[in-house]
Assembly symmetry: C2
DNA sequence: CTATAATAGTTTCATTCGTAACTAATTGCA
DNA sequence: TGCAATTAGTTACGAATGAAACTATTATAG
């Protein structure tokens, strides 16, 4: 093995993607299997669960999804009755999105489940380590965004 | 905002996926734009760069990819001359994969680039913090795999 | 031995995803 | 005004992805 070799298991991007995938799958079991909600839909729901009346563009912003993915997720969720949509009085292009009653209900059921999952995983770390992780991820993310 | 709400920006799986995506894009610029190598192909290359003669199943194992993705990546890379394939004497189903001369060359060019990128990003952290991160990711990953 | 099961890898098909092109509405500025 | 440029969101199309069925080969049970 020459000096320029690279061990995937020690390579940060690989490790992050690996952990992210594991947790993504763990979460998907909670909202996909039980509620038929796709990953993109869950992200939209998480944002609308907190703030109502957002436009699709704002949802895209807050979920870090692109507008096409958001559009599709929203239309699926309207079809399945999770979201209601109206349009802004001062700009008929801009949608105003909210969770429907069903959407809110579903949201309230999913949130504790995913929070419990997160808590489970974080159980691997002490409180101090959790704070460290928080700080490290923030630093890395802020920095990597600039590169 | 009710007590059961969830802030995406503070939710570990979201943060991991976000950071992982940023770094994934940063890396893809290095190997996709310059060498026309897809993400799955880079993973395969990274594994074969270190160990020659592996079967597709072993590559799938080491890359955490499924066998279909590996099969496709390998066949693309054979087409583009990056990989050479023979079959095991004692089992004609089992492939024995290696980087070709071109594959090795390409690998040797990419490795320093992606290592430099990783180092850049880790520049956000002190040496001590880098060790912390390493330990935290290992703990989390080992633990999350069991759940 | 032969028939069945298991394994390596590929192909197929249906879905997902992203980029680019598009429609509709609004803004700006001549 | 009125026409070009922007903006919100959707549609269309090609590439990537995953599950399941399939082919070829090897292992195993009777």
């Amino acid at each position: 093995m020459s000096k320029s070799d690279l061990l995937l298991e020690e390579f940060l991007p690989y490790r992050l993607s690996y952990l992210s995938n594991i947790m993504g799958q763990g979460l998907a079991q909670l909202y996909t299997n039980k509620f038929g909600i796709a990953h993109t839909e869950w992200r939209v729901m998480a944002v609308l669960g907190i703030s109502s009346g957002l436009s699709a563009a704002l949802v895209a912003d807050k979920t870090a999804m692109d507008k096409v993915a958001v559009s599709r997720a929203i239309n699926n969720m309207i079809d399945s009755g999770l979201i209601s949509r109206s349009f802004a009085d001062d700009d008929k292009r801009r949608s105003e999105l909210s969770l429907s009653a069903l959407g809110k209900q579903t949201y309230e059921k999913i949130v504790p489940l995913v929070q419990a999952y997160e808590k489970d995983v974080l159980g691997a770390l002490s409180d101090k380590e959790q704070k460290e992780l928080d700080a490290l991820l923030s630093k890395l993310t802020d920095y990597a965004k600039e590169l």
